[in-house]
Symmetry: C2
Subunit: 235 residues, 2 copies
């Protein structure tokens, strides 16, 4: 096997234009959102640690923070660590020159000492800067992730920590019905609960599907019934 | 919020030059490996479905297939669907013009009808081509992932399916000791088991750490003992 330079590909990562703070359903997370808005605007805490269950909306919030920073002319970078196996830890080098760094799912690199060390080094470099904010997300508090490096855990604990409170099914249903109403669509409770039961339960998926159903119902001049939904989504 | 075009970033994804078929520990997966080699060389099955537990080496094999295709001058594309929330399903459009498409973790888009439909459409386009192979990975067989679209599941079942057999801890220990030996390092069973217990248990992480320990032990002229390892890795 040749020892030439590793092959570099480039993945077009897309910050969806509808994942903003405006489109986020706060439900008990107001303080966290305010804190992230400040970080994105260059006035927040240097380090923010955000944790919550899968599908609780962490990625939406990190996307929203990057979008706000970009809107204000600040350079932001979003990195999902779920794909660390296809990246080199060197990707973290020099990020501290940006205004905002959002690292999603940092628990994915726990028990991997080389990545943990690279994260630790990034933390230290961020703390030495005046104008860089770092926001990280994980599925558990820093003490509960299982990181190997005690120094990394202590750094992670220095920042401000927030738990993301997930939306209840009733709140998701209300959010769906409200979004439908804005579009002039009638979404009955029965149909809303059908969607919640069948589809992935994150609001991103539910809203994307609602958008598609909206267009299909307009084209077909049909109401949103369960048979119409099954037909449209090929279920 | 402006409705301008979504922000596009670009993630430098890196196919590690040491994740090849040569460096993969076959352990019961010989037939699968041979099948992937053929697919990467343009002579294999049109569709390969590869499933196994997390950390069983799926990503290594997909990297290896892309590396082999590239080495032979074929265009290959590797896409980890764990970050689908930061990508548009439109990323799948036109991929069928490549020689090899490797989609990692397709279970991540299950119960998301728009992504499932995009996958289904890609399958159909690949089947219409003469020179494109598609390799997908997931954590369970196609029937057990929970996909919504029956047509997608039936397409996934058309291809050849392989289960990836994970390495036992003893096999991982043997692989570590063999890799150490090649480098002129002595790795005792006790020290090897210490690494297996403390670190992430995938061979990728274990080998990367062994490389680092190799360099540190040469610099320090020290043997690989547990105290030396703790010191080197800051554990």
């Amino acid at each position: 096997m040749s020892k030439s330079a590793p092959i570099q590909l480039s993945l077009p990562v897309h910050l969806p234009d509808d994942e903003t703070f405006q489109s986020y359903h706060p439900a008990g997370n107001q303080q966290l959102i305010e804190s992230l808005r400040l970080a994105a605007s260059g006035q927040g805490e240097r380090i923010t640690y955000l944790w919550g269950n899968a599908k609780s909306g962490r990625t939406h919030l990190l996307h929203a923070a990057c979008a706000l920073a970009n809107e204000q002319g600040r350079q932001a970078f979003y990195l999902p660590l779920g794909i660390h196996a296809s990246m080199s830890p060197a990707i973290l080098e020099g990020l501290e020159s940006l205004s905002l760094i959002c690292l999603d799912d940092i628990d994915e690199v726990s028990r991997h000492p080389i990545w943990e060390e690279a994260l630790f080094d990034l933390y230290n470099r961020v703390l030495e800067q005046d104008n860089c904010c770092l926001v990280v997300s994980a599925r558990a508090p820093a003490n509960g992730v299982g990181f190997l490096l005690p120094d990394l855990v202590s750094r992670l604990n220095w920042g401000i920590q927030y738990q993301l409170h997930p939306l209840s099914d009733d709140a998701k249903l209300a959010a769906l019905q409200q979004r439908a109403k804005v579009r002039g669509l009638e979404l009955s409770e029965e149909v809303g609960r059908f969607l919640l039961t069948r589809l992935a339960r994150d609001l991103r998926t539910l809203f994307e599907v609602l958008d598609r159903l909206d267009k299909a119902s307009m084209r077909a001049q049909r109401k949103l019934t369960i048979p119409f939904i099954k037909q449209t989504l090929h279920l």
